[in-house]
Point group: none
Chain length 215, copies 2
């Protein structure tokens, strides 16, 4: 008989975690060492026990110490243990935080048991299991960082704003725009007002944030 892979389940919903326990215990390859109710219990567990599981099946929303904190703790203190997140929510922010904390995979609780089994095997064998879902979420959050609130600027103001994001002085900007320096003053003051800026630096920060200028 081959050695089974030790797993700890951390989840505060007892009904669910016990069901999960039964499920995983039925997988030939895995052995559930213990079932804990939150991150704190996991940390306490390691202060008492010498045994280390290969994988922790981690819920995210939990009282006292949540899954993100617990995963971060494991990364810092037991980096060889792999965390597979198991969550109800698939919102971008949670996924991001969990992955940054070091999770090796992120599954939703409504998956088919066979997928869980497959994921566990992958995490054991390859060290990770990132689903299409997770990857797409990451791709999305790169794309729609933030939609511009789009204060509407006139063409000439936009032109000035772009030039303000260079090392040109206002005098030089005036030359480029074929305007008097005094008129450029007006554009500056108008944009200070519209964009809530107090200095030229503020204009630059706004322009870059809103992707009016691209670096």
């Amino acid at each position: 008989m081959m050695n089974k892979i030790d797993i700890i389940i951390v989840d505060d919903h007892v009904l669910f975690s016990q069901a999960l326990n039964g499920l995983v215990s039925n997988f030939d390859e895995f052995n559930v060492v213990t079932v804990l109710n939150n991150g704190k219990e996991l940390v306490d567990y390691f202060s008492k026990e010498n045994k280390q599981p290969q994988i922790v099946l981690m819920d995210i929303k939990m009282p006292i110490m949540n899954g993100i904190e617990a995963t971060q703790w494991l990364k810092d203190n037991k980096p060889e243990i792999k965390v597979l997140a198991l969550s109800m929510e698939a919102d971008e922010d949670t996924i991001l935080k969990m992955l940054r904390a070091g999770a090796k995979g992120y599954l939703l609780k409504d998956i088919h048991p066979s997928v869980l089994q497959h994921a566990l095997k992958e995490v054991d064998a390859s060290g990770f299991y990132y689903t299409e879902n997770v990857t797409n979420t990451l791709l999305n959050s790169i794309n729609h960082k933030q939609k511009s609130i789009a204060i509407k600027l006139k063409d000439r103001e936009l032109e000035f704003l772009k030039l303000a994001c260079t090392e040109r002085t206002y005098r030089e900007i005036a030359e480029v725009m074929f305007l008097s320096p005094k008129t450029v003053d007006n554009y500056r003051e108008a944009l200070f007002e519209k964009l809530g800026a107090k200095t030229r630096i503020g204009l630059v920060l706004y322009a870059i944030k809103e992707k009016i200028v691209v670096l």
Copy 2:
């Protein structure tokens, strides 16, 4: 005998693609339908042939039509075919473009054959295979934390630079840093010199470009 999974290899390096052909053909589960030299040949192939492979092993850098364009074309025209990218480079930009174009995985050419075999099986069975490498790249590009700083800045200079990217005056920056305004002058001038800037705007542009400050 089970049905083998059909694969097309697209790569302009003939020596490599032929070696890859031999390798994959030796895998029990897979059958290499044909080997093509670039994306254009792949598009042409589908205009002549009715047969469709399940998976395309796609190089990225190729003449005439590169792997990104070809993958995008497949997504638009043959969405049921899965693309597994196989590349020399692991730079962020390329990975992002390839995934956006619809690749179901991204492997480097220096992996072990068994990993390729495993990835192919995963792509066939699950529809995707995203490695830790790829996921970390995505995470990084969200964080914008890739430190490509060519010029090494001292801690205190970095601190000043970040403050320069705000609407604070130098006098206020001096207060925050517990320095005399004159010392702040020195930091400014030192950075002008190091970063080739002539004005504070130049500092801000540099800091943002190099991801020293995140907006």
